[in-house]
Symmetry: C2
Subunit: 200 residues, 2 copies
């Protein structure tokens, strides 16, 4: 005989499939939920379903939005000549939090990864080329990951986009803010040295 009610173990099992939620956290969450106020549980369940139903992908930039094209694509004060290329919708969030980018975005939907069977045709690269044809884009800022696949994808994009006569830049790599040299790995340090700039 299992001690826990079946409804509880079923919930726990589904919760443990969420990212960052292990079996122990799932158990804790499930126990919390069955002991919470019934109204707040129903509310959370409704918010989940509503969010999943309402939130979709912007047909232009690929970000998460309730209306397509999204608020970033249609915003009058964003610089349409500058487009930052990211891997995933969530990357836009981090960049927006940084707060100093005033251009628009383009979500690739991943990066080229032969080992996972992801080629250029699986990414939103043609959509980007289409945008180059209709929008006044002058510069693409690549903000992909700094690992091998991210680097490969950046170089592939730089070559392919150069054919369209657009300037392609990549965000700087170097020491993270607030960190001493002892916390940086060798590759980060070597890139920080390569990317050194004259102090004015």
């Amino acid at each position: 005989m299992s001690f826990l009610p079946e409804a509880l173990t079923a919930l726990q099992s589904d919760l443990s499939k969420l990212p960052g939620i292990g079996p122990r956290s799932a158990e804790r969450l499930a126990l919390h939920l069955v002991q919470s106020d019934a109204g707040s549980v129903r509310r959370l369940a409704e918010l989940m379903v509503a969010a999943r139903e309402k939130v979709r992908t912007c047909a232009v930039c690929g970000s998460l939005t309730e209306a397509s094209p999204c608020g970033l694509c249609t915003h009058p004060n964003r610089d349409g000549s500058l487009v930052c290329v990211v891997e995933r919708p969530v990357d836009i969030l981090w960049l927006e939090k940084a707060g100093n980018f005033r251009g628009k975005y383009h979500v690739l939907g991943g990066r080229i990864s032969p080992i996972n069977g992801v080629g250029p045709e699986d990414l939103r690269i043609e959509e980007l080329e289409r945008r180059l044809g209709v929008e006044p884009i002058r510069e693409l800022v690549l903000a992909l990951a700094t690992d091998v696949e991210g680097d490969a994808t950046s170089h592939y994009l730089a070559r392919r986009m150069a054919a369209h006569g657009v300037k392609v830049t990549r965000i700087a790599h170097g020491l993270p803010a607030g960190a001493g040299l002892e916390f940086a790995d060798e590759l980060t340090l070597s890139r920080a040295l390569d990317g050194r700039r004259e102090m004015s």
Copy 2:
């Protein structure tokens, strides 16, 4: 203008109220959910509501159950003369996982805590006394926390239950399994010494 869709931030805000889920995890979960398969999101939402509706408290022992009295209280092979007293329903889970307790349980619903305004009358102590009158209970095993409030509650219960002629014991305190002395705090070590037993 906020970048994230409203449905997403509403979900994130509610998720961050769950125990152990900080704002960052909530954001990650919300983003995961809106990008998941719609069916699995609906399923999770339904499981949450169903668990909350089905799971209730056993009228006898106070554990979480779908049927009251619960499977533990009605189980034919559990020793009804031995009742383990715990603070919360989830504590039963840990003890059942340990697997060597064959008696029944009683959930207090907390511990005496004057600073939080919790007195003996707020706990399920009268329910326990009622059980002593109708069930063949010979021994109460107290398995409360080992902090100041848990200790005080254990001592209060021991005194009050002794008046009913029942034997009151408390689970042993000492070194956790697999830990060296260097990982135990002073109180744990002092209790481990006090609780020493002759080796046979």
